[in-house]
């Protein structure tokens, strides 16, 4: 794995180099379509007028909003990765998390947001976990491949939500959405806590829940006996069985935690932003979670940093259209980042390893 490579090079240098390469190639593509890459970077970071880019006065609120979602879905994929489960179902689990949030928040007129957010979180986790439970059970007991089943459950989930929003849960009228949540369940935006944030930005207190979840995942994976079993199973199923660890239990637990984390995203989007259940609340965040987990090397710190990077790309990228770069360009940049950081990692790793060997030889 890391032959003679110091840890810092493994977890910081290599991703950084991969990222630089991805951005260089992105810059070349921007040049190719006749735009100025430096200008594009400026627009992405601070916006055309200095406020709407990823770090602009207004834009940062969106960047952090996206970051929150990506932390949840990234952690979800990361936890499953530790058990060597590839959970592609973040999209569906987060969508069902939204149904959970809506069900809980519409059931009672919640007196205060602090109670409402706890209840909504429980609802989100329960529904997200339940949606992951079926593929997990099929994998654990029947050997149905989790990648296939979770992808299929994304579609089933999406269809189910459409059905709910044009049927049982639909508000009076023609729009496929539920009635708005009661005022008591509205959670504070970051603006309400730190007035420096723009009041229209959707970032909200669930960001802190996301960071808390990251700490929770770290404790679970590296500090508990269950985490030990999950990692042992993930590295070697045979060794885990030899150690008396039950594969069915690990697959189920890892996938339930994964689904619950993905579901938690709905607290940010459904409770925090939409304040009612609407169609398509996930918007690809479930898939971005895969890239985030890959880039963050399934470590909570890495996931948080990678989620922030993708938050920047999402918000900054949407600004590009205002200077004539098509919106699709940001998808290209994201794809390049995923490609360089995820699948082409060895392209960077092997030369770096060689360089270190040469350097060490020279020193010795």
């Amino acid at each position: 794995m890391n032959k003679g490579l110091p840890k810092w090079a493994d977890i910081i240098l290599i991703p950084l180099l991969s990222l630089t390469l991805a951005f260089l190639v992105s810059g070349l593509i921007v040049m190719f379509i006749g735009e100025n890459p430096i200008e594009a970077v400026k627009v992405m970071l601070v916006g055309e007028f200095g406020d709407s880019g990823a770090f602009g006065r207004f834009g940062i609120g969106y960047t952090l909003y996206y970051t929150t979602s990506f932390i949840f879905t990234g952690l979800a994929v990361a936890v499953a990765f530790h058990a060597r489960m590839f959970n592609i179902g973040g999209e569906g689990q987060a969508g069902m998390g939204g149904v959970g949030v809506a069900t809980v928040l519409l059931s009672v007129a919640w007196p205060h947001w602090t109670i409402a957010i706890v209840a909504a979180s429980l609802g989100a986790m329960a529904f997200g976990a339940a949606w992951a439970a079926i593929p997990a059970y099929l994998q654990a007991k029947r050997g149905s491949h989790i990648v296939i089943t979770t992808i299929m459950f994304n579609w089933i989930g999406s269809a189910l939500i459409v059905y709910l929003l044009v049927g049982p849960m639909q508000a009076p009228g023609m729009v496929p959405e539920t009635v708005g949540f009661s005022a008591g369940s509205s959670i504070p935006t970051l603006h309400e806590i730190f007035p420096a944030f723009d009041k229209h930005a959707p970032a909200n207190v669930s960001l802190f829940l996301a960071l808390f979840a990251a700490v929770g995942v770290w404790v679970l994976i590296w500090k508990t006996r269950l985490g030990y079993e999950i990692r042992a199973f993930g590295h070697s199923e045979k060794a885990a069985i030899y150690a008396g660890i039950k594969p069915v239990k690990i697959i189920m637990v890892a996938m339930l935690v994964s689904g619950a984390l993905a579901g938690m995203m709905a607290v940010n989007t459904v409770q925090g932003e939409a304040e009612r259940l609407i169609l398509d609340t996930v918007q690809g965040a479930g898939f971005v979670g895969i890239a985030v987990a890959l880039m963050g090397r399934s470590h909570p710190v890495g996931v948080v940093l990678a989620a922030f990077l993708f938050g920047v790309l999402y918000q900054g990228g949407s600004e590009l259209q205002y200077i004539g770069i098509p919106r699709e360009m940001v998808v290209v940049i994201q794809a390049l980042v995923i490609m360089f950081v995820g699948s082409l990692e060895n392209m960077v790793r092997i030369p770096v390893e060689r360089a270190f060997v040469l350097f060490n030889k020279g020193a010795a």
């Binding site: 794995m1 030990y228 590295h235 060794a239 030899y242 150690a243 008396g244 039950k246 060997v357």
Partner: protein, 526 residues
Amino acid sequence: MSVETQKQRQPETAAPVAPAIELIGVSKSFGPVQANKDIDMTVAKGAIHGIVGENGAGKSTLMSILYGFYKADAGEIKIDGVTIEITDSHAAIAAGIGMVHQHFMLVKPFTVLENVIMGAEGGPLLRPSLNKARKILAELAVEYELDVDPDAIVGELSVGFQQRVEILKALYREADILILDEPTGVLTPAEADHLFRILQNLKEQGKTIVLITHKLREIMAVTDTVSVMRRGQMTATVKTSETSASELADLMVGRHVTLEVEKNPPNVGETVLEVKNLCKTDGQGVKKLKDISLQLKAGEILGVAGVAGNGQSDLLEILSGINSATSGEVLMRGESIDLTHKASAAMRRERGIGHVPEDRHALGLVMPFQTWENAVLGYHNNPEFSGKFGLADHKAMMEDAKRKIEKFDIRPTNPHLLAMNYSGGNQQKIVIAREIENNPDVLLVGQPTRGVDIGAIEFIHKQIVALRDQGKAVLLISVELEEVLALSDRIIVMFDGVIQGERMPKETNEQELGMLMAGIDPEASA
């Protein structure tokens, strides 16, 4: 190697026949690891040349260079006196070098003929080369005692025959030099004897053979000359007739080692583990265990001999709770243990059954785990390692690991090192330390010294004997007959899922056990 010494050697090597293989100053490193340092080796034409050395000594790397899998960083290779560049295995084949790998490179659903011509089809249509191969194979069969049914499906042949197919593949490609890498690892003693007869025939026909093995007995039996490798260097090349197994062992390890296991007579107590009529049928309907019954007593080492794949592994897996049994009963101190799929290895450990698995890489260790984590694998839920709220007590685990590292002389001593970074011997010491230190009443041991260097073998054997001297029961499964004979107080031989016979080590020998391993009962046939 300086030019000087090469020149000095010239008069010898420039004799009438050039040596078949001559390596001059061959070096190869992988990153910071120097696998081969400045290797010089000369193999005379028509000789059987052995190469011995511990795991990681660089034998396989050297042969991989000769066969074109790796390119040497420096050095020269001469075949029949001519310097050649071996860039890939095609070049090696063209130079007349054939290789029989430890793990056979055969397509199992193909017939023998199809395997033999693979990569040498010689045209778009198969028929002409198949016919040609059939003719050549018939000739080779007569010439070298290498008869194999050309139309047999390779997967249905026994391992000994599969190996012959590998040799035939090399001969079909007109190899004059044959490299065999650990060829007897999977053979019965009788099959191994047949192999050695084939090698002698090949030698008589002028072929040159390089035999890589860690079994010194075989080196002594068949080779003309032998080279010893240690830590990437060629430390000695001697005539086999002028050396002994113990001298070679010392040369391999670099210090004096004892090959014999010193132990006192056993102090056998009452039966601890009793197996009654155990049967196992696998998913494909193959009967792996047929009505196995045995008793394991306190204070004894019961050795299970047999060629790999005759049910020993299944027995081990069932007893250790990894796999379920089809029928039968197992009693631990008179109480029956769960043999269904609901059982787990954790339940066995609670009952006092420890397990050193046959495959430490896949089962015994989690390779990307650090030593302190591996040192509690399977015991991680023990009260002494458990904190509150499901947390693990890392401090206790770390102290425990440090203690095991010291007591079992595990090197390097850093408890944060990953298991994959240890040598085979030290990996096995981690497993042995973990299982013995948990003080089991019964220890199941599978292939305790497979891929372990000689120095560590000595140590591991001593630990097993010490456990038995404490009055614990040990079930030892090993395909190394020497090991079974040296360690066991009682030996059973398994063949095709049944216990073929039971012998006392003092009253038997390798020949008799070898016949039992091949399914022949010497007493019945006598």
